[in-house]
Amino acid sequence: MSQALLTVIGEDRPGIVAAVTQALFTADCSIGDASMMRLGGYFTIMQVIDYQRDLGYVEMALEPAIKSLNLRVHLDPISSVALKADLPNTRVTVYGADHPGIVASVTGALAAIGFNVVDLESESSGGVDRPLYVMVIQGFAPDGIESVRKAVLPLREKEGVEVGVHPIEAAVF
């Protein structure tokens, strides 16, 4: 069993996920971690797949979907052994009037304390004259949540955005 990272991009329309996953299924692939979402007017898929034969066979299986839905597809073979990674322990939420530099400023402050971003989702919304930007970052803070608060809370003033820092604790009941 080998692993690859599959990237799919196409103009958003119904049926992309179904066509891609059906093709993978018929090519004896199984899907691992996946992120599938609409970004702007495009639908994007990034997913880890386990494949049985060679990548050429996977590409061939995807071909009809690529043609009929006008998709762009990319396959990268990856090491089958997942690196041992730290689980996210902190969530940073940011929202405010959209302006250039919010992400750079927040993630720069996080990088400076060794914060490892595991997941970042953001969305621009609101009206044309009142654009709103929202972002949720999850990651691992090696020095704990207080170091994150110290690093990013000053950005409320500097960037004029709301910033929240919350612990991610999984309680097993």
């Binding site: 991610i168 604790e169 309680a171 097993v172």
Partner: protein
């Protein structure tokens, strides 16, 4: 006391609705002791519900002292528990002994009032908040055949926790 074995998803018995307890005898008390022992032996060790050990009766045990110290009710045995009132909502990440190796975000009430009977059949009432309230709600769900998997919400739900953004 005996550590009982835990049913794990996708065992269909976890989805059965539990029956009310009507007899408060020594057999019940023995079972509650075993259930409590099983809870303490588990990975979380803070809560358990009878259906998780294949006993389909409305019995929940919660003890969050390992997490909150003395800032809680200690060991609570909730028999035939009813949620009388609730207030506030919070997102939290939960796992479950019956769903090994998976955790997910779930919305729960922040403060609850629960009425229940104890092992002697005496009526009890508890007001819980935060982590303790979450544990009670998680365990009470088992009595109706629900797992936290039935209540998963997206990470994006966090965006709506505005009142938690302290200035």
């Amino acid at each position: 006391m005996t550590v009982l074995s835990i049913l794990t998803y996708p065992d269909p018995r976890l989805q059965r609705k539990a029956e009310a307890v009507t007899t408060f005898d020594d057999a019940l008390r023995q079972f509650v002791d075993d259930l409590t022992e099983t809870m303490y032996a588990g990975p979380g060790g803070v809560g358990i519900a009878a259906p998780q050990v294949d006993r389909h009766q409305r019995i929940v045990v919660v003890d969050v002292r390992s997490k909150l110290g003395d800032n809680c009710h200690g060991l609570m045995v909730l028999i035939n528990p009813e949620l009388v009132a609730w207030e506030g909502m919070a997102v939290g990440r939960e796992g479950c002994m019956s769903v090994p190796d998976f955790t997910g975000n779930v919305i729960r009430a922040e403060r609850i009032q629960v009425r229940a009977e104890d092992v002697m059949g005496r009526e009890r009432s508890y007001e819980c908040e935060g982590f303790e309230a979450r544990a009670v709600q998680h365990e009470m769900d088992h009595l109706d055949g629900f797992l936290f998997l039935d209540r998963l919400v997206s990470r994006k739900t966090d965006l709506f926790r505005r009142k938690n953004y302290q200035k």
